[in-house]
């Protein structure tokens, strides 16, 4: 059932020519072949590239020379304690903050040279929480994600896309409910649905599970994982829960005081040593049912 809807939502029928030409244009922009990688990943393109990014709030440096690459169809988690620059990094990528130094490029194109509207078609941003002083209906909130595509009104195609995404996210029962009449978890799902309605190639998520209960956490991350794999969307998400990040992401970027402390697959990054150094917490790292690391925190150092 899910698959049906995902096919329906498939972007093949939506400016596919545009997308294909872009792909051809930048065929040369592939990730460098690592001599030791088994040759399996070597032709996966780099989708999002962050080079030497630095950002200051007033004179306080928040990001220092951050380098991250996110490949196509890859789910990358940004981990790090509060104030390590996760949210700032996401906001820099989406153009809400102007970085002091360094560059961000998507498919080899610098985002600063793109129009806001075109960038909004590539990047779907999910904020930590929504302001809702004057709440609209859930349907209208998701429809906001179609704004880069439509002019003044909303066409039939936009409504179709929104209906399908609402179904996919399991929000169909609350379509017409007011945005402030739903739970925090449902609100989070609506924000993700809004980002999906943008039909983005990259999803930026700022702590997508922070307001959710156990079941919704797994549910939301599973949906994001499926979108990433089936639609070849790349996802970069700031996370607080080490175990969820370890279970669901392909790679992990560990930030410490605005610098990249370590990058790699969950097994190599989530270790007792790195947790002690970055979080200042004594922890045991075991293996979960999927062979991924599982953290049991013991005490703050």
């Amino acid at each position: 059932m899910l698959f049906y809807f995902w096919n329906g939502y498939s972007r093949k029928n939506c400016n596919s020519t545009d997308r294909d030409t872009r792909r051809d244009d930048h065929d040369d922009h592939r990730c460098p072949v690592h001599p030791l990688s088994g040759g399996k990943e070597e032709w996966i393109r780099v989708k999002l590239e962050i080079r030497g990014l630095s950002f200051n709030y007033n004179s306080r440096p928040v990001l220092k020379d951050v380098k991250i690459e996110v490949k196509e169809g890859e789910m990358v988690s940004l981990l790090g304690p509060n104030g390590s620059g996760k949210t700032t990094l996401l906001r820099c990528i989406d153009g809400m903050l102007k970085p002091k130094r360094g560059g961000i490029s998507i498919d080899g194109k610098d985002v600063r040279e793109m129009k806001k509207n075109d960038l909004a078609k590539l990047l779907g941003y999910v904020p930590q929480r929504a302001v809702n002083v004057l709440p609209c209906s859930v349907f209208d909130a998701v429809m906001i994600g179609r704004r880069p595509y439509v002019g003044w009104g909303s066409g039939k195609k936009d409504r179709e896309v929104v209906f399908e995404i609402l179904k996919l996210m399991g929000l169909e029962d609350m379509t017409l409910r007011s945005f402030d009449g739903i739970s925090g978890g449902e609100m989070q799902k609506v924000l993700i649905a809004k980002a999906l309605a943008q039909e983005p190639e990259i999803l930026l998520l700022d702590e997508p599970t922070s307001n959710l209960d156990l079941r919704h956490q797994l549910d939301v991350l599973k949906i994001i994982g499926e979108i990433v794999k089936e639609e070849k969307v790349s996802a970069l998400m700031a996370m607080h829960d080490l175990n969820l990040a370890s279970r669901f992401s392909d790679r992990i970027v560990l930030l410490k005081e605005g610098k990249v402390y370590d990058v790699g697959d969950p097994k190599s990054v989530i270790t007792p040593e790195s947790i002690r150094s970055v979080y200042g917490v004594e922890a045991i790292v075991e293996e979960n049912d999927g062979g991924r690391p599982h953290v049991i925190p013991l005490r703050a150092i």
């Binding site: 806001k116 909004a120 904020p127 302001v131 002083v133 004057l134 609209c136 994600g145 704004r147 945005f179």
Partner: protein, 312 residues
């Protein structure tokens, strides 16, 4: 249940939901027309409905014709335009500031604009200059409030308190200027005056309303997105600051044009968007027209109750 059925059901419910909103808009429009027809025969000189219709369509020089064309029609049209414009600008200001208590009246914009209009009037050049001065002072008040609230991170309630301070400041200035010039009394300043409307004022304000309304409707969608937070709006490609600026300038423009002719009419711009929100939800594309219609209805209703009170 079949997937198609579920989807069809959502679509159907959404269609109904939208149809209901259009239905309310239509009902508001109809009641506006009916109320306008009901109000026209009322006034100091008692005219029958038949006389009124005859006067409207024949436009001769009889007593009834003159009363209708020179007194009643301008006043009724002015009430409609003025109610629409003020209510619309109230809805815009609330949407931009995310503050359901905000309105040109409670932020002091109306009284600042009125003060400006009076200063402009003192030069005696013409209505264009009046509106220009009113606009300048209105923007000044709005930016003062907006700037302070941004810089100090004020809560919505504090913003309104500051606005009310500004409102009284400008009302005081206006009354001083008014007393020195001897032009108008304080009671008129505070309650607004629709009685002395002329065709000139109707036309001028109508032009401002006709220009600004479509532009504001064009901003409505972006304001919807901004209601979910600036981050969300920016991420779908909206230039948040530009949209905010455009809609505030347009809202102040309507208010200034209206205030120059009618004085400060307070309640419409605060109450109409409120009523509109309670029946329409918070979609600005529907709030703007419905709020405008409700504003016009409220002012017409005010004329109606005045006439019923004094002339029966």
């Amino acid at each position: 249940m079949n997937i198609h059925e579920i989807k069809g059901e959502i679509e159907e419910r959404y269609a109904k939901y939208t149809a209901r909103k259009f239905g309310i808009l239509f009902a508001l429009l109809t009641s506006l027309v009916i109320l306008a027809i009901l109000v026209t025969p009322l006034g100091a000189a008692s005219l029958s409905i038949g006389e009124v219709f005859h006067a409207i369509f024949s436009r001769g020089s009889s007593r009834a014709d003159i009363i209708i064309w020179q007194l009643r029609l301008p006043r009724i049209l002015m009430a409609i335009i003025c109610g629409m414009g003020l209510a619309l600008s109230g809805a815009v200001v609330q949407g931009v500031l995310h503050n359901p208590l905000a309105s040109p009246f409670t932020l002091g914009v109306s009284s600042a604009a009125f003060f400006g209009g009076m200063i402009g009037g003192a030069f005696g050049v013409g209505m264009g200059l009046n509106v220009g001065f009113a606009f300048f002072f209105g923007m000044l008040a709005l930016f003062l409030i907006y700037g302070i609230s941004k810089r100090r991170g004020m809560t919505p309630e504090t913003v309104i308190l500051c606005g009310i301070c500004l409102m009284y400041l400008f009302l005081a200035l206006t009354s001083v200027a008014g007393m020195m010039g001897g032009a108008i009394g304080m009671s008129q300043i505070l309650s607004g005056f629709l009685v002395s409307s002329s065709w000139e004022s109707v036309l001028t304000t109508a032009i401002f309303l006709i220009i600004t309304f479509p532009l504001l409707m064009w901003c409505a969608r972006d304001l919807n997105a901004m209601a979910l937070g600036d981050d969300t709006a920016t991420s779908v490609g909206i230039n948040v600051n530009r949209t905010r600026m455009i809609s505030m300038v347009l809202a102040t423009l309507i208010v200034s044009a209206i205030v120059c002719f009618t004085g400060v009419i307070g309640f419409v711009c605060l109450i109409s968007p409120f009523i509109a929100r309670s029946v329409m939800g918070n979609d600005h594309r529907f709030i703007f027209p419905s709020s405008a219609l409700i504003g016009a209805l409220l002012l017409l209703e005010r004329i109606l109750s005045q006439e019923l009170q004094f002339n029966r």
